[in-house]
């Protein structure tokens, strides 16, 4: 849940009256662009990406134009441009035109959480405009401050003095930057970064900080960002139908995080708790269809819905239904297994049987009753199965599931299909 760029950043900055560069959106007409160029001498043309996308400048995705023609050429070049940064590939949809701000000084500013100080932390340098990693440490102030008092003017003043910032920029920054704490703190942000803030002189030479780029991240568990009335499509980045269905079940009790690892995979492994999820996803590799953390102790209804959605999307292609977790503390195994088994039974009654091998490894309260329910379901549905207690190493159980998957690919699936009375067995993907 991130926002980058000035298209929406400008709206957020306006909430706290922080000065910012003038911005036109993708639908700006030529008159407006021309007028902007006339006012500012030149404009920057930047592609609009959904979510968080960094290092655009370095990738040459920043255009500058001093006349309308080249502004439109840059618009055409950047409107649907693709950008790869790390593992992320993003496709632009639109551009912004941002009025250039002449300045001598460029400032980098960010607010974030420091796990080292375990407090909100201000990072500030007067050597902005470049990546913070490239700035000499002695020019960077990293100042944790009290969350209850907030980022007050004295915090900013002390930070600027400590790094030897030019005296003419101190007063304007001390006046303006504390506003950003209001934005950060009151609208559910986890990170806020303005780079650069350009120090624009007025006729008398007095400087005003002007935000020229914007980046922020929101906390999914904090509803304060709803106050901003941002269009929901901003955050609907790249969720699959499956992920969206699961996300609708997200409640404060229990995570519902899922990620489609390989939509051609053949092991369906709904897992509970981050620990189990990490282990399983790591070991299954591309055999796994999804990586999931449905949280500890999900109630019956939620568990059944989650399982039903998983089955609807993936069961037909699955060779192995793999339910795995450690020795749970308070997750009622009977409730969760009963929910999954019921969902499996209902899926079979709606869509007919599908060849499947069920592997379970689990521990926790009501374990035997839970396994008994799953056993009865497997027997009723005619599915072969092996259930392991917590005295079998989880990783061994994962390996077992993988070996079963290989056997299923090598003819086991057809064998089970025949036993289930399926004439033409559905092939696993």
């Amino acid at each position: 849940m991130q926002i980058t760029g000035m298209l929406y950043g400008s709206q957020l900055l306006d909430f706290v009256d922080f000065p910012r560069a003038e911005v036109l959106g993708p639908d700006a007409d030529e008159e407006a662009i021309k007028a902007m160029i006339e006012r500012h001498g030149s404009v920057f043309v930047k592609p609009v990406f959904k979510g968080g996308v960094g290092k655009k400048g370095k990738a040459g995705l920043l255009g500058r134009a001093r006349d309308l023609k080249s502004a439109l050429t840059e618009k055409e070049r950047l409107y649907f441009v693709e950008h790869r940064h790390g593992n992320q590939v993003a496709k632009a949809n639109g551009v912004t035109f941002e009025g250039a701000v002449p300045a001598e000084h460029e400032v980098y500013f960010s607010l974030s959480v420091s796990t080292e100080f375990r407090a909100p932390t201000l990072t500030l340098t007067h050597c902005g405009g470049m990546d913070i990693e490239e700035v000499d440490e002695k020019h960077i102030a990293r100042v944790p401050f009290d969350a209850l008092t907030g980022m007050k003017a004295f915090v900013v003043a002390n930070a600027l003095i400590d790094i030897g910032a030019p005296s003419e920029i101190i007063s304007p920054l001390v006046q303006q930057l504390p506003k950003l704490w209001e934005l950060y703190h009151n609208f559910g942000m986890t990170v806020l970064e303005l780079n650069p803030i350009r120090m624009r002189p007025d006729r008398r030479g007095r400087l005003t900080p002007v935000a020229c780029d914007f980046k922020c991240g929101f906390d999914r568990d904090d509803s304060r960002w709803h106050r901003l009335n941002l269009p929901p499509h901003l955050f609907a980045a790249d969720y699959s139908d499956f992920e969206q269905e699961i996300n609708q079940l997200r409640t404060h009790q229990g995570q519902s995080d899922v990620y489609v690892i390989n939509d051609k995979g053949t092991i369906l492994a709904p897992t509970f708790g981050g620990g189990a999820n990490s282990l399983v996803t790591e070991m299954l590799g591309d055999d796994a269809i999804i990586s999931s953390d449905f949280g500890g102790n999900p109630p019956y209804e939620k568990m059944k819905s989650v399982a039903a959605i998983c089955f609807d999307h993936w069961l037909a292609q699955s060779n192995v239904l793999f339910v795995i977790g450690g020795k749970s503390n308070n997750t009622d195994i009977f409730e969760t297994f009963r929910a999954m088994a019921d969902a499996l039974r209902e899926h079979f009654s709606r869509h007919g049987p599908t060849p499947l091998f069920v592997v379970i490894g689990r521990g926790g309260p009501n374990l035997v009753r839970g396994m008994a329910v799953f056993r009865d379901t497997c027997e009723a549905l005619g599915l072969p199965y092996r259930f392991f207690g917590f005295d079998s190493a989880m990783s061994e159980v994962v390996d077992y599931a993988r070996e079963v998957n290989e056997w299923m690919k090598a003819g086991g699936r057809e064998q089970i299909a025949t036993r289930l009375g399926l004439e033409a067995p559905a092939k696993a993907a």
């Binding site: 080292e116 995080d257 708790g273 620990g275 500890g296 926790g364 374990l367 799953f374 005619g382 036993r419």
Partner: protein
């Protein structure tokens, strides 16, 4: 700004040694103690810790108590009230929802000056609130654990605070030893302790740190407290990506670090609590590197390539932790705390190949589980049928549901459209044993029910007739009969069924109609034999046996009963029939033992109510509704008997089909229907948690009293409407498409008349009336609307080549109403029309011939509803009996209102 604590930290830390984290002297206050999670885990922790919780809070619930094996914990509205009552505590546990957690922390800190530690279990606390929590605690000098954690535990002092480490039996996992654990995963804190124990390592202090962005008690201060804890010789850390906590930690005792989350490098967006992504400087690879540098190793420890030093080892698989720890400790000349308690090899507790041939490597034989699980599994093998978990069943049902989209209800997964294609006896099986069964089952059910329909000379019949003559509607008539069918009447058959379940479970009977089953496998002692047999022949038993023989039905329990020698009691024969029908579903764990034991009582109830719906004059010593008793018992189906009782004549094949469709459609309308509510309320009031006390007949009275002229009797509205439309028409056979009536003209004339009336009543503001059986709140707004249920059944009749003039009229009427501009589109003919048209078709000829009156027709309409619904409600009652809680249908005081 922070309170000065111990050590050289940027922040306040008060814990000097791990031994101080959870001690026997700690006294605990739990916020939201009655919440779902707390009320389950707090009693376990409290008992294991020798009673460390002094009180809990839950606003508005002062005076309540949380029962625990160590005595009840008092509950107050607030922390201040608890302190005012004289309680003192130094530890606060927060189980509040995320939006309230911060305020709970503030309350603990501001109200209790003796507070030292806070444990926050709540997950999904916003970062905003987390930083304020931290700031408040730092100012006040309080140690916070969590959030989003499962608390802490100490295996030496046997104390756990907050959360649920060690699960529901902490002693099984937490054995005193020398290893401390700090884990980002609450679940794995316990799992790691379990793995260590199997390898001979016990534990000291276990800390579930949580993995929010703010981890309030994290690796650096854990390392500090580890150094000062004489009990702990080493530690295991379980780390996920995100945060620089581990980098800052300075260990001076051996450590095995399990770092997971490399796979996140594949992701393209943040997944997981802290939103940590690969590519940052705090991803899994970075964390592995930090630890390798600390330990002076250049690789990961795996069993094949054991890389470690005396300082520690890094693993990425928790199963490798014990081996890594043992290796590291050996390098420190330290042996495990005790003998290893088991291996981590694969040991299936349950398994079956289901007839498939597996390669040897995968075909692992099932092994006996470790104690105490092996005894549970052994007990499971002895358990017969399923045991449903009990829950509040107000407005909920495990038997029926209505699909909100299609408005088609279903019973045990079978939609009413499918049920309408099955005979009544199949639907009775569906209702009670959750499967419609085969021909053999139906034959046995037909006998069992038919045994009770002829009520000649019984007080039940007298009661029903008296009720009828006093002017009651059919539901009250049947209720009078049901009231006399108390539980005692079925005790004998219930006992016999219980006995047969025991005998045949022990004998391993797989199929109850198995002709080859060797009866010698099912021995019984003399006392049991006595309960099934009697000295003289029982004529009722003889009649049942003759009927079964006549129908050629098979039953192992019956064959066995006869092989006992002597004369079976009628109750025993009945129980043998019902146990045969239910045996398959029981073996498949579809139904419970309670259900199968209740079946004889259900046969009596259904048979008697069916009988009581017919006038007393139709019960003769030797016949029912004109059918000889042996034909009733030995030939006819339940569907035929019910149709006979309703129509007063032997039904033809078409009549039967119509009748079965009618009753099938009426089985259920989900748990929200008033009839179901009445039935469920009656069970709830008796207390299903003690099933033997629930009076099934009274529950049927509950159902019957919750039907009436508006619910059940309203099927007659459509009939009345049609009677008016067809008054004076020369219609002899409604099933003859060549009836000679001009339906289009009839429909058009009425549409005009209705349109005019409607306009007039609109003009005058007077009440209009709606035509029954057309239009529907869901199936509307299309140019031409269809109720899919009506369409489905209509097509089935068309496929049989059957015609129904009343239905045909309705279809023409909706078109005429549109053509005449009365309706804005073509309304649907709804499912109620099926009921009205089928019924009227069935009854038309006796009505036209003057054999029955309009009032009797109305009674018949109501009775047809009762036939179908009584089977659906039997399912509802049995379901509530199996799953419900005592008094669960009552409405909480807060949701009721007074009107003036």
């Amino acid at each position: 700004m922070h309170h000065q604590g111990i050590g050289d930290f940027h922040y306040y830390v008060g814990i000097n040694s791990l031994a101080q984290i959870a001690t026997r002297n700690d006294r605990v206050c739990v916020l939201n103690i009655l919440g779902g999670e707390s009320s389950e885990v707090t009693p376990v922790g409290h008992a294991w810790s020798g009673g460390n919780v002094v009180f809990g809070t839950s606003p508005g619930r002062r005076g309540q108590r949380l029962e625990t094996p160590e005595g009840a914990i008092p509950v107050y509205n607030s922390v201040r009230e608890g302190l005012d009552a004289g309680h003192r505590f130094n530890c606060g546990v927060v189980y509040l929802p995320p939006s309230a957690a911060r305020d709970g922390v503030a309350e603990l800190i501001r109200v209790n000056p003796e507070l030292e530690k806070i444990f926050i279990i709540t997950e999904k606390i916003s970062v905003h609130d987390a930083r304020e929590i931290r700031a408040m605690a730092q100012q006040a000098g309080i140690d916070v654990f969590g959030a989003n954690c499962l608390g802490v535990a100490d295996a030496w002092s046997q104390v756990r605070i907050g959360g649920a480490l060690g699960g529901d039996s902490p002693g099984d996992t937490l054995k005193r030893g020398s290893i401390a654990i700090l884990s980002n995963s609450g679940g794995f804190t316990t799992t790691i302790a379990q793995y260590l124990r199997m390898a001979g390592w016990g534990t000291t202090t276990l800390v579930s740190s949580g993995k929010d962005v703010y981890i309030h008690y994290a690796a650096p201060e854990f390392a500090f407290a580890l150094a000062n804890d004489a009990r702990s010789k080493a530690a295991v850390l379980y780390c996920e990506p995100g945060g620089y906590y581990e980098r800052e930690a300075d260990f001076n005792k051996p450590v095995v670090a399990c770092v997971v989350g490399r796979w996140k490098a594949k992701l393209t967006r943040a997944v997981g609590h802290a939103g940590a992504m690969a590519g940052g400087n705090d991803d899994a690879l970075a964390k592995e590197r930090w630890f390798m540098e600390k330990f002076g190793v250049d690789g990961l420890f795996t069993p094949d390539n054991p890389v470690f030093s005396a300082k520690g080892a890094v693993v990425t698989n928790i199963a490798h932790i014990p081996a890594a720890l043992t290796a590291v400790m050996r390098a420190n000349a330290t042996l495990p705390d005790f003998e290893p308690e088991g291996s981590m090899d694969l040991k299936p507790w349950f398994g079956s190949n289901m007839g498939v041939t597996l390669p040897a490597a995968l075909d692992l034989p099932v092994v006996e589980a470790i104690a105490p699980y092996h005894t549970q599994i052994a007990a499971l093998a002895r358990q017969v049928g399923t045991v449903f978990p009990r829950q509040n069943l107000k407005d909920a049902s495990g038997a029926s549901q209505m699909d909100p989209k299609s408005h088609v209800s279903s019973l045990h997964g079978v939609s009413m459209l499918q049920a309408a294609q099955q005979p009544l006896e199949a639907n009775l099986a569906l209702a009670l044993v959750h499967e419609a069964g085969g021909d053999n089952d139906r034959a046995l059910l037909n006998v069992a029910v038919a045994a009770f329909v002829n009520l000649h000379g019984s007080p039940v019949l007298a009661a029903a007739q008296a009720a009828r003559e006093a002017g009651n509607a059919p539901n009250a008539v049947l209720a009078a009969a049901a009231s006399l069918l108390g539980p005692r009447l079925s005790d004998g058959a219930r006992e016999a069924a219980a006995l047969m379940i025991d005998v045949f479970s022990a004998a391993g009977l797989a199929a109850a109609h198995d002709e080859d089953f060797a009866l010698s496998r099912a021995p019984i002692d003399d006392a049991a034999r006595e309960r099934l047999l009697q000295a003289e022949p029982d004529p009722r038993a003889e009649a049942l046996l003759a009927a079964v023989a006549l129908r050629g039905a098979r039953s192992v329990p019956l064959r066995w009963l006869l092989a006992l020698g002597g004369h079976p009691r009628a109750d025993a024969v009945l129980a043998a029939l019902t146990t045969t029908v239910a045996w398959g579903p029981l073996q498949r764990k579809r139904i419970s033992r309670t259900t199968i034991e209740s079946l004889p009582a259900w046969m009596r109830l259904i048979g008697t109510l069916l009988g009581a719906s017919a006038d007393a004059a139709r019960h003769r010593p030797d016949s029912f509704c004109g059918l000889p008793n042996d034909e009733v018992l030995g030939v006819r189906s339940l569907t035929e008997l019910a149709a006979l009782a309703l129509l007063g004549r032997a039904p033809a094949a078409d009549d039967l089909f119509a009748f079965q469709t009618l009753t099938g459609l009426l089985l259920t309308n989900g748990p929200g229907a008033i009839s179901a509510q009445g039935a469920k309320g009656a069970v709830s009031a008796d207390g299903p948690e003690t099933p033997a006390r629930v009076q099934l007949n009274k529950a049927m009275v509950g159902f019957l009293s919750h039907t009436g002229y508006a619910h059940g009797g309203n099927g007659f509205e459509g009939v009345a409407f049609l009677l008016e439309r067809f008054a004076g028409q020369a219609l002899t056979d409604p099933g003859d498409a060549g009836h000679g009536l001009d339906l289009d003209t009839m429909a058009r004339d009425f549409a005009r008349e209705y349109g005019a009336q409607k306009a007039a009543s609109k003009e005058s503001g007077g009440p209009g009336y709606n035509i029954p059986c057309i239009n529907h709140p869901v199936f509307k707004d299309k140019p031409e609307n269809i109720d899919p249920r009506e369409a489905f059944v209509r097509q089935r009749f068309e496929a049989r080549g059957e015609y129904n003039v009343f239905h045909d009229y309705y279809r023409r009427l909706v078109q005429a109403l549109f053509d005449e501009g009365v309706t804005r589109n073509v309304f649907c003919v709804n499912v109620d029309a099926l009921i009205a048209t089928l019924l009227l078709k069935l009854m038309w000829q006796p009505l036209a011939a003057g054999q029955i009156s309009r009032a009797e027709l109305e009674t018949a309409a109501f009775t047809a509803f009762l036939y179908g619904r009584m089977i659906g409600c039997a399912a509802e009652i049995d379901d509530h009996l199996n799953r419900g809680r005592n008094m669960d249908t009552r409405t909480p005081q807060a949701q009721v209102r007074f009107v003036a």
